[in-house]
Amino acid sequence: MSKPTGNNQTDKHLVERVLNGDRDAFGMIVCQTEGLVAQIVFKMVSQTEDRKDIAQDVYLKAYQGLARFRFSAKLSTWIGQIAYNTCLSYLERKKLVLPGDGQEGEEPEETSRAFSGGAFPGVSHDNVTESTLYQRELSAILRTALQELSPIYRTLITLYHQEELSYEEIRQITGLPEGTVKNYLFRARRALKDHLMDTYKKEGL
């Protein structure tokens, strides 16, 4: 996974080159940030055929708006914000599931209590990973669980746990208040964990 740019001086230098007409510099920006953009686009947009157009749209918008970038955040965060907003507009246009819909109003329930006898009674965590839940199966279950989450929850989980962005960076990208980001992350993790344990129980993995 290519980690996005983080150095403000590098950002300034690259932006300056692009604004002076150096297209290759913009190519470098694309290469440095496409990992983050891919994470956002893939998590927000399920339609494979639309992802290509959206990704291109993101960078065309970034190119057109580059002169307005004020370096109050990292360039990668700014491009991430454009990607997020572009995907959000796409979802709104297509009238697809919107952020947190459905799950947003739910009261936190102690659903894990269903497994309060222990999902793996008498079995330690290490034993579970090594002998019962095979890595591939676990990965497949997780992917299914992620697909069942709303696009926003999916994106937040990815940005926090895979891209390892801070709450502040996620706030800048999504425009959601930090408290909401934390709350959504908590709900998403709980839903994923419940799905994982539920599948374990059903399939007797």
């Binding site: 190119y63 370096f71 997780l142």
Partner: protein, 169 residues
């Protein structure tokens, strides 16, 4: 030590940042097998998420984007000037056009149309309301004004949301 089990929120916090967990939570976790199992489930989940492979575009994104880029100078519309690069707040600034300029002609048109209609048909309009008592008339006017106010606020809120979504720092 806490007697009741830790909530999911507390367990997640402990898994993500054990150093920030209170002593009573730690003491409980040290003795409660159930909470340890539930925390283990979260640990397993988070480790699995981290291991998931990152998605990649199946085409040359940089090449495709670069082939579509217009010349930068062509992007600067006539009437726009670019702030000097040294200026941190660089952005295209319209020359001779300030934000909100367009709203005045719109407001003018909005005021002229009803004003004109009132001028032309004022007597007929007054005739409709002349039969109403003073209190009824004021209630009607107040209700209409409140509805218009709330609708206007809703439109403004939607507008602000759209603008916020376009905020590019």
């Amino acid at each position: 030590m806490r007697a009741d089990h830790l909530s999911d929120m507390e367990l997640q916090q402990w898994v993500l940042d054990p150093s920030n967990t209170g002593a009573d939570h730690r003491a409980h976790l040290g003795q409660c097998e159930e909470c340890m199992i539930r925390a283990g489930e979260y640990r397993l989940l988070i480790a699995q998420i981290k291991q998931e492979s990152a998605p990649v575009f199946d085409f040359d994104l940089a090449g495709t984007v670069l082939s579509q880029l217009p010349d930068y100078d062509n992007l600067v519309e006539p009437g726009y000037e670019r702030a000097p690069l040294a200026d941190a707040a660089r952005y295209h600034r319209p020359v001779g056009f300030r934000r909100g300029t367009l709203s005045w002609p719109i407001l003018l048109v909005i005021s002229i149309v009803p004003g004109g209609l009132l001028y032309l048909f004022g007597k007929e309009v007054w005739g409709i309301f002349s039969g109403f008592s003073g209190m009824m008339l004021w209630m009607l006017v107040t209700s209409a004004a409140l509805i218009l106010l709330f609708q206007g606020m809703e439109v403004y809120r939607k507008y602000q949301r759209k603008i916020d979504a376009l905020n590019l720092y």
